[in-house]
């Protein structure tokens, strides 16, 4: 299945893209997706192993199961205000 990944701020600088579609196995969790990305090697292996992630605009833990078409955002430490 396909999900849409988003990278912001320092993570975008790290991986060189702001968004990317990604094929992942059905039933994949957030943690699995991070693993799939990091296994691609550089520059994706520079992402943290346990980043903060939002699925469809809600902060979601590593065990969250993904569905086709989900929007998965990698959230660097936040600095609003």
């Amino acid at each position: 299945m396909q999900v849409r990944t988003l990278f912001f701020a320092s993570y975008r600088d790290l991986v060189g893209v702001g968004q990317m579609s990604l094929d992942v196995p059905d039933g994949c969790t957030v943690s699995d997706l991070v693993g799939v990305l990091r296994a691609r090697g550089r520059p994706f292996d520079a992402l943290p192993a346990d980043p903060a992630v939002a699925v469809n605009r809600t902060y979601s833990g590593p065990g969250t199961r993904l569905a086709s078409g989900d929007e998965v955002a990698f959230i660097p430490p936040v600095a609003g205000g």
Binding site: A54, R57, T58, V78, G80, G81
Partner: protein, 160 residues
């Protein structure tokens, strides 16, 4: 510009924030306390001269989080007279990055609600800032892990 007071308002904007417009969104005949907090871009950080700040947001989520934070504060305050606006884009020193207006019958609830909103913004709003310096390349500022743990170095009196 005059905007009639309306219930709870939360927004993420690119244009400069007009504090008077945010303030005009709160206030009522039964309120004896009206509070306005402004976060602004400082001209220094860590002893380095700052020329400006670039704010980036995950905008659709930032809007939702900001509204959720305002609703939580409203539940604590017992009124919906809370307005909060966060700006994104390129800001110069002295410009307003965030404005929070609250009104309530008495001052304690207004101070509590405004404090709650700014602290939750710092803790979980998906916004990032890149500081520009007069003496070197810009850098993303260390922030807070939205899952709760402290992440990166905190830099003393960070207000805006």
């Amino acid at each position: 510009m005059s905007v009639p007071p309306s219930p709870l308002h939360a927004g993420v904007v690119r244009a400069p924030i007009d504090p008077a417009e945010v303030l005009a969104r709160v206030g009522a005949a039964e309120d004896g306390a009206v509070l306005l907090f402004l976060g602004t871009v400082r001209d220094h950080n860590d002893g380095r001269p700052v020329s400006g700040m670039s704010y980036e947001a995950y905008e659709p989520m930032a809007r939702e989080v900001l509204e959720a934070v305002a609703r939580e504060a409203a539940a604590r305050l017992g009124t919906e007279r809370i307005a909060v606006v966060h700006r994104v884009g390129e800001l110069d020193v002295g410009e307003v990055s965030v404005a929070i207006a609250v009104s309530s019958p008495h001052r304690a609830e207004a101070f509590h609600a405004a404090r709650y909103v700014i602290e939750e913004i710092k803790r979980r709003l998906p916004v990032w800032k890149k500081e520009r310096y007069l003496d070197g390349p810009a850098r993303w500022l260390a922030g807070a892990d939205p899952r709760g743990e402290a992440a990166g170095a905190t830099r003393g009196e960070e207000s805006g």
